[in-house]
Every structure is written in C-alpha cells, then in structure tokens.
C-alpha cells in the first residue's frame, strides 16, 4: 500500500497560487464523479440507516433513530452471521497466508521449474470470481463432479456424494474455492518481497551456522512483515465482505450455513424489502473491516522498519 505522498516543494520559480488553480482543474473531473457515485451515496445510506425504509415506490419512511442498529444487535441471527463471516475470513485468510508463504519460499528456493510455477500462479488469480465459483460448483457436483470422479477412481467412495448439501461441509468447500482463487495473490506478493531482500544477510547467517529453518524465521520472516501486512489487510477486508463466491456456490445455504454478512445485507435490501436494516448492516460491515485493518496495523506495523 502506498504511503500518502508529500508533494515536493522545491520550486522557487513557481507561482504557488496559479499552481493550486491548475491542481483543482485537474482534480475536478474525478471529484465530480466521486461526489456522485461515492460521497453522496454513502451519506444517503447513512441517513437511510436511521430510517424505517420499506422498499417500494409509495412507502413512507420514518425516522427510527438507532432502531435499525439495535434491532440487529439484538437479533441472534445477526450474530450467527457475523460468526460465520469471521469463520470464513479467519479460515480462508490464514490458509491463504500459510500456503502463500510456503509457495513463495518454495519459488525462492529455486527448484526445477520455479519460473513455470510463478507463471502458473497468475491463472487462478486472473480467473473471474464468478467463473471460479461456478467451476467449483461443478467440481463438487453430485452428478458429474470431478471431486466425486477422483474419489471414485481412487476407490474411496462407492456412490457420488452431493457435497454441497451437507451443512457443516459447505463452508469448508467454499473456503477451498476461495483459497484456490486467492492463495496465488498472497504467494506472488510475498515472493516478490522475498526476491527483494538482500542475499548477503542470508549468506552471513549461513556462515554463522544458522540452518535453513532459522534463516527463514529469524532473518527473512521479520523483513517480510510489511509485505505480509499488505497481503493480510487486503485479503481480510475482501474476505469479510465475501459475496460473489457464496452467491454462486451455495446461495447462502444449506440451512443458512454459508450466509455471510454481505449476503444478509443484500437480502435485506433487495429481497426482504428492509432497506433501513440493509443500510445499517452495510455500515457495520465498514466498521468491522476498518477495525480489523487498524488492529493489524497496530500489531504488525513497526515504523522503524520503514
């Protein structure tokens, strides 16, 4: 993630005020667009979250104060959804991070075909989320799925199994699909960071008698911390808002076992006709993601390393 940049002020020959006018001129097109498609909508949603707002043309909205927020916080279904979303987030992000780190280190160790491996990682990342979701839905299919095919040919099952209909199995299967899609993202970021580390450090430690394991944890891992932070924040924020892959794989089912918070917000806003609740929920999503980003930065960011 880029730092906020400080414009360079080293121009004795410039007319400051004229420059400021040019800056606004350059910014105006983007600012008008953002005003219309982000700033105004977010304000509107904020107001909506304090209203009882049934969808429909002639419905009257009434101000309910914190009513929508309180209604949700009292609802056990909401907390179950938060729990499920946390389950998805923690499980998928940690698997992606661990596998991603392992794959990055593997590439860094230069086995035969490491260039091909690095090249291959781009494929899952570039496949659109919806194509990825439907691909895994077909892989898990009870009628023709590759998962059943493989297990059958290995002699592990006798009949095809409808994998996605098992309530406790659905979420792990969604997580596998997400890991396939996004682990390469983490691996590529960390691999680039590893490649940027000075090789002399490693050699020096090696001369001092550190083994490969120690060199990884004591030398490279601490230096990787900023890159890990970037990957972790990006993945967590995305995973917490997961919608596409759940929509396409399970529709939130079976028995709501894969219903995540964005999906619940979508249903409230567009299926249950409770726009006020939907708006309040969407603000809670932002609140949770920002809170998580702050926690990560507090825990992992060490300014002296920058």
């Amino acid at each position: 993630m880029a730092q906020l940049s400080k414009p360079m002020v080293k121009r004795p020959f410039s007319l400051r005020q004229q420059d400021a006018r040019v800056a606004w001129l350059l910014l105006v097109p983007s600012l008008i667009v953002l005003l219309g498609v982000t700033f105004w909508p977010i304000l509107y949603t904020f107001i909506l979250s304090f209203q009882n707002a049934p969808s429909g043309i002639n419905q009257v909205r009434t101000f309910v104060g914190l009513g929508n927020y309180l209604e949700m916080l009292k609802d056990t279904g909401f907390w179950e959804t938060i729990g499920r979303t946390m389950y998805f987030t923690v499980a998928s992000v940690s698997v992606e991070l661990i596998l991603g780190l392992a794959v990055a280190q593997l590439i860094h160790s230069r086995p035969w075909g490491w260039k091909f491996l690095r090249f291959s990682l781009i494929i899952p990342w570039a496949v659109p989320t919806i194509v990825n979701g439907s691909m895994w839905r077909w892989i898990y299919s009870a009628d023709f799925g590759a998962l059943n095919g493989v297990l059958m040919q290995l002699g592990l099952i006798k009949h095809y199994i409808p994998w996605l209909t098992f309530p406790n199995l659905a979420m792990p299967l969604v997580i596998v699909a997400d890991v396939w899609h996004m682990m390469p993202f983490v691996a590529l970021i960390l691999q680039a960071a590893l490649a940027g580390l000075p090789a002399e450090l490693d050699e020096a430690a090696s001369v001092d008698g550190a083994n490969a394991w120690q060199r990884f944890w004591k030398i490279r891992f601490p230096l990787l911390r900023p890159a890990i932070l970037v990957a972790l924040i990006a993945r967590t924020v995305d995973a917490f808002r997961v919608f596409d892959i759940v929509y396409i794989l399970t529709n939130g089912g079976p028995a709501s076992k894969t219903m995540t918070i964005t999906y619940l917000t979508y249903l409230n806003s567009f299926s249950y006709g409770k726009q006020g609740i939907g708006a309040a929920l969407s603000f809670l999503i932002s609140f949770f993601t920002i809170a998580m980003a702050i926690i990560y930065i507090r825990v992992l960011y060490r300014p002296e390393e920058n």
């Binding site: 414009p7 080293k10 909508p41 949603t45 439907s134 924020v237």
Partner: protein, 285 residues
C-alpha cells in the same frame, strides 16, 4: 556437498508437483469438460479426456444459430457487454484519474492531503453500502438494464483504485525532468502532457489493465442493475444459468472458459507489472 545440494533441489522440486496439480487440475478439468458432450460429461466414472471431443459448445457461442439453446446465445451477447463496459470504464478512469493522480502527487495545495485521505477512504467502503442510493438514482434516470449504469457505478471503485495506482507510478517519475522542462518555459499543463504523460505510458497501460480486470470481474452491481439480455454481463449470465438444473452445462462451461480468457491473457501479457500493481492496489475481489 554437491550431492547434498542436488538432493535437496530434487526434493524441493518434488514439492512443486502437488502445488502445480492444485493449480491446474480444476481449470484443466473445466477445459476438458467444455469440449465434451452433455452425455459424456455425465458418464460415471468420468472421462477425464473426452472420447468424442467436440467444439460444438464454442461454435454455438461464436456462431449463434436458432437451433442452439439460450445458453450460448446469452453468452455471445453478455461477453460482448462485459467487454464494452470494462473498456469504457478503463478509458474513463485512466483519462480522468491520471490528471487527478498527477495533481495529488506533484502539486502542493491546501486540500491535497485531505483529498488523498478521502480517496483512500472510499476504497474501504463496500459496494453494498452504496448500492441503495445508486439504485434510486438509476431508476430515476431510467438507467436500469442499460450498460451505462454499470459504466457509471463501476467508477465508484475503479476510479479511486486508478488514482491510487497512478499516484504510486507518478511518484517514480524523476522530479528533475519536470524542473528542466519548467526552466525551458513549460507551464504546469505543458509539463504534464509533454513530459510526464509520455514517459508514463507503461504505467498508464498497466493501470488500465488492472482496471479492466476489476471491471470484468465485477458481479454485485451487475447482478442488481442488469437482468435483460441486452445489458447483462458475463458473470450475471453465468450466475443465472448455474442454479438451473436442466440447463446446457457443457455450453456454460465453454462460456465460463471464454469469460476467463480475456483476463488470463491480459494477466500473462502484463506479468511484469502484476505484482507491483497488486502491492500498490492490494484490492481485488
């Protein structure tokens, strides 16, 4: 010592095999299945490589005939819609985003930092927080089910992303170049269009690629704003068919492969830039 090194390389190389299988097995299976007939797809045990491969699934999409089912006809239109929309978003974002990014990086003025923070902040807002008001405006303007609604709404995430990526790019343009141009009598706009933009073309193109991928991948707004054949994008077409039981599955698989091809090809062409863009942008659904 030499033997030990060789052995460890050998074992490391063995580990890459399961990783490669994990990466390739799902897509290769999908690819194979898209070349089989519906009957063969359902055979148990599965035919990993179709015994009677056919390109009919692809032909149906490229040359839609009346005999073909709704699946290929829908894909032909929706992939074209995705392409139009993603291209428009990319062009608009790079055009206006590059101006904004340059101003934020190189011109000091009072609100500079506040605007940077505001743009960074919009990137934390989930789509679902914006969608209700956007839906109301779109209905008022009678934009629902028109491609323009997606071009405009996609700007909400694509434009901040573009500005952010280009800011990190413009930061790498040597300031001495600009000073030299200024001494030669160039004004600010002259510097931007005659010096900075021309040498930033690789950055503009790779940023454009990221924006295109982002817009191509988008699903949530597309799901809400479009449902007619004339307007829906490839992800929406896939999602509508995938839930139905008696649908042409191999046809959909071919459609899925086609929808995945443009981003995969783009990503390969721009390999060199991908990791840098990932680290700078760090958001992709």
């Amino acid at each position: 010592m030499h033997v030990r090194k060789y052995l460890s390389k050998f074992f490391l190389s063995l580990i890459t095999l399961p990783v490669l299988v994990f990466i390739f097995f799902p897509v290769l299976w999908l690819l194979m299945a898209s070349f089989s007939t519906q009957v063969e797809l359902f055979s148990i045990p599965p035919h990993w490589i179709p015994l009677h491969p056919t390109i009919q699934n692809y032909l149906d999409i490229f040359v839609p005939s009346l005999a073909a089912s709704t699946v290929p006809r829908t894909f032909a239109v929706s992939i074209w819609n995705s392409f139009r929309i993603a291209s428009m978003v990319t062009i608009i974002c790079v055009m206006i985003g590059s101006l904004a990014a340059y101003a934020l990086v190189r011109i000091p003025f009072k609100m500079n930092r506040a605007i940077q923070l505001g743009i960074m902040g919009t990137r934390m807002i989930p789509e679902v927080s914006l969608v209700l008001p956007l839906f109301m405006i779109a209905s008022t303007l009678k934009w629902i089910n028109k491609p323009v609604v997606l071009v405009v709404t996609y700007l909400s995430f694509a434009l901040p992303y573009t500005i952010w990526l280009l800011m990190t790019y413009f930061q790498t343009v040597p300031i001495e170049l600009e000073e030299a141009a200024r001494l030669d009598g160039c004004n600010r706009l002259g510097i931007l269009f005659r010096v900075v933009m021309p040498i930033s073309i690789p950055g503009l193109i790779s940023t454009g690629m990221f924006v295109f991928l982002l817009a191509w991948d988008e699903f949530f707004y597309a799901l809400i704003f479009t449902s007619t054949l004339a307007s829906k994008t490839a992800p929406v077409a896939i999602s509508e068919f995938v839930g139905r039981y008696s649908v042409n599955i191999t046809g959909m698989m071919a459609g899925g492969i086609l929808a995945a091809l443009p981003p995969v090809i783009l990503a390969f062409l721009f390999q060199r830039y991908i990791v840098r863009g990932m680290t700078a942008g760090a958001v992709k659904g």
